[in-house]
């Protein structure tokens, strides 16, 4: 079991309110991702759930028990840190055994659990090495192993993949997702990377300045962002946000169109612009278009994403046509207009 309910939790560092009173429900077995720009309070929120950070006000409930005043170790949560936080003087085996040793678990039970964890995480060959002799990915797996053996009611991940290189990150992402399908334990995952959020989450919590901007499934967030911030934050490349005259044509303060919902032609279309940089990825091409005459904010940049390749180069004139049914409209407060 591992349902977590945050009830008006608030965090102040001195006079600075990092997290204004905030409510959130996490159901048992869910994979929840906290995502937001750096400094948005997502790690602080996670640490408050873990008990590493005191609450200024509010309550944390785990499985309907108020754990606000309960010590971190007794909350039944495991955490995986960005820096792995392995104990450098112990072997991998002792690292994984440490929480069980602290809980005075019998030695034969310990050995069996270590064996099982090592097998499922491909660590069997490294059990007698020290963390310093392992690669980043292996260290992260040891940290996960140490978290698994406690059989927690929920796993907390604090940006666990940020220190890995890109290729390894994709692999570890899959491993964590497989772990979740296998264990069916609640997982809370903090990241600033919206790709990780989109690919891994059952439920994404988008945070900005300690405030929840939107909670929803990845596709909900993609298709119906509640406000301009979520619209700009979710999706890569970023959504094009257009203000001014073009927006008022649609009775909105701001209109948004995702780069993949714009078609490009060299001969005719709704908006005209010149090609700046074209990024050819093979499967996709990102074209940065300037001088569109649209009010796209600072930088005068309109991004288009097309499948496959197109023969345009720097300075060429192109015509852009948005798919009207994919247009997002926002009012003066930045909220979505249905």
């Amino acid at each position: 079991m591992g349902s977590i309910v945050l009830d008006k939790v608030q965090k102040k560092f001195g006079d600075v309110e990092v997290i204004p009173p905030l409510d959130l429900e996490i159901n048992d077995g869910e994979f929840v991702v906290f995502v937001g720009p750096s400094g948005c309070g997502k790690s602080t929120l996670l640490r408050m759930i873990a008990g590493l950070e005191d609450l200024t006000a509010g309550k944390v409930n785990i499985d309907d028990n108020d754990v606000t005043e309960v010590s971190p170790a007794k909350r039944g949560l495991s955490m995986v840190f960005q820096s792995y936080a392995l104990y450098p003087h112990m072997t991998v085996r002792k690292n994984i055994a440490f929480p069980m040793r602290m809980a005075k678990v019998p030695q034969d039970v310990q050995d069996a659990k270590i064996e099982a964890a090592a097998k499922s995480l491909n660590l069997a060959d490294y059990l007698d090495r020290k963390p310093g002799q392992l690669s980043g990915g292996q260290r992260q797996r040891v940290a996960i192993g140490r978290a698994i053996v406690r059989e927690p009611s929920a796993f907390l991940f604090d940006e666990p993949l940020s220190n890995l290189d890109a290729a390894l990150r994709v692999g570890m992402r899959l491993e964590i997702m497989e772990l979740h399908t296998k264990l069916k334990t609640t997982m809370i995952y903090v990241t600033h990377d919206q790709v990780e959020a989109m690919t891994m989450a059952d439920k994404i919590v988008v945070l900005q300045a300690g405030v929840i901007e939107q909670v929803g499934s990845p596709l909900e967030l993609y298709h119906t962002p509640r406000n301009k911030f979520v619209a700009g934050f979710i999706g890569s490349p970023k959504m094009n946000l257009i203000e001014g005259e073009e927006a008022s044509k649609h009775d909105a303060t701001t209109i948004g169109i995702r780069p993949e919902h714009v078609s490009v032609s060299t001969t005719e279309g709704m908006w005209k612009g010149t090609v700046g940089v074209a990024e050819h990825l093979g499967s996709d091409t990102f074209i940065h278009v300037h001088n569109t005459g649209l009010d796209t904010g600072e930088g005068d940049l309109f991004t288009v994403r097309i499948s496959g390749d197109i023969a345009v180069s720097h300075g060429d004139t192109v015509y852009l046509t948005p798919q009207m049914d994919q247009l997002h409209k926002f009012d003066a407060q930045g909220l979505r207009i249905a």
Partner: protein, 312 residues
């Protein structure tokens, strides 16, 4: 090859200077240790000048080995150094952990803690033996006297009087005595060198990874377990450094021994050398060579024990 000549030439003076500084004294010591050489002799005046014709072979070494103080000096050296090392490391770790927490006036406390290290060894010895440890005039004598007076005064008191009647009259300890002079030296040197250990351990504690501690908290580790399994192993390397450096320094203690008891009941090899140097330079040199050998044996053991920690 040619472009290496100039750097080597430029290094030469420094290297030569170092070699001369090391090899000349060592060579002279070796030479003196194999000849008869005394400072003053009316019977054999030819022994007062060093010369090959006074060759004595291993005679000086035999003389030193058979002298009654030699074995005692070696044992006592090891006892003093061992005691000081264990005391400074234990006290150093405890104090460092204590003042690593934040409390008002921490800066001042830290400066005061370091200050014993700036006291000269001889001054340290004089202060301790006269002002603190003296059985009559020192703090020890005054404290023991005060306790005795208090116990005597309480003997007639109701209810608790019987307890103070059982109280033995305390005798102040003379730290210049044969049995206690080594203890006095251990105390004063420990007082002086604990700050050094504290300083090194404190810097190391500040580099301890806080996320590891948080992970340990989540893993259910108590404060003691965190100290035992995280902090102590983290301090392994600085401990090795403290032990090595102090071992080198304390094998050559001299001023404290001289001031406390003039070697009464408390000698080490340097002190023995000092005693021989009053007249018998040959024996003093032979003892010097023994001291070099002892230092190397200690160094080998230390490097074995400590080197492993440093290599990791």
């Amino acid at each position: 090859m040619a472009n290496r000549t100039i750097p080597r030439l430029l290094q030469t003076p420094a290297v030569l200077l170092l070699l001369v500084w090391m090899l000349v004294p060592l060579g002279m010591t070796l030479f003196y240790s194999f000849i008869r050489y005394v400072l003053n002799s009316t019977v054999r005046p030819e022994w007062t000048t060093p010369s090959w014709s006074n060759w004595r072979g291993f005679g000086n070494y035999e003389f030193v080995l058979n002298s009654k103080d030699f074995l005692f000096a070696i044992k006592n050296s090891l006892f003093i150094v061992g005691s000081i090392l264990s005391l400074t490391v234990v006290l150093g770790v405890l104090i460092a952990v204590l003042i690593n927490r934040s409390f008002p006036g921490r800066g001042i406390v830290r400066v005061l803690l370091i200050s014993p290290f700036f006291v000269m060894p001889a001054v340290n010895a004089v202060l301790w033996i006269n002002m603190l440890l003296d059985p009559v005039l020192g703090l020890q004598g005054i404290a023991v006297g005060a306790i005795n007076d208090m116990a005597a005064g309480m003997q007639d008191a109701p209810l608790v009087g019987w307890f103070f009647n059982l109280w033995p009259v305390l005798e102040p300890i003379s730290f210049r005595a044969t049995q206690t002079s080594a203890i006095a030296v251990i105390m004063m040197v420990t007082w002086q060198w604990t700050p050094f250990a504290v300083l090194i351990f404190m810097t190391s504690l500040q580099s301890e990874d806080q996320q590891q501690k948080e992970a340990a908290v989540l893993d259910g580790a108590s404060r003691w377990s965190q100290f035992r399994f995280l902090t102590l192993p983290h301090l392994g390397r600085p401990m090795a450094i403290v032990v090595m450096i102090q071992a080198i320094f304390h094998l050559s203690l001299y001023a404290e021994i001289e001031i406390v008891s003039r070697g009464n009941g408390n000698k080490n090899l340097p002190y023995l050398i000092g005693e021989f140097t009053n007249n018998n330079i040959g024996a003093a040199s032979a003892t010097g060579i023994f001291a070099v050998i002892l230092a190397n044996i200690v160094a080998i053991f230390l490097l074995r024990a400590v080197g492993k920690t440093l290599m990791e």
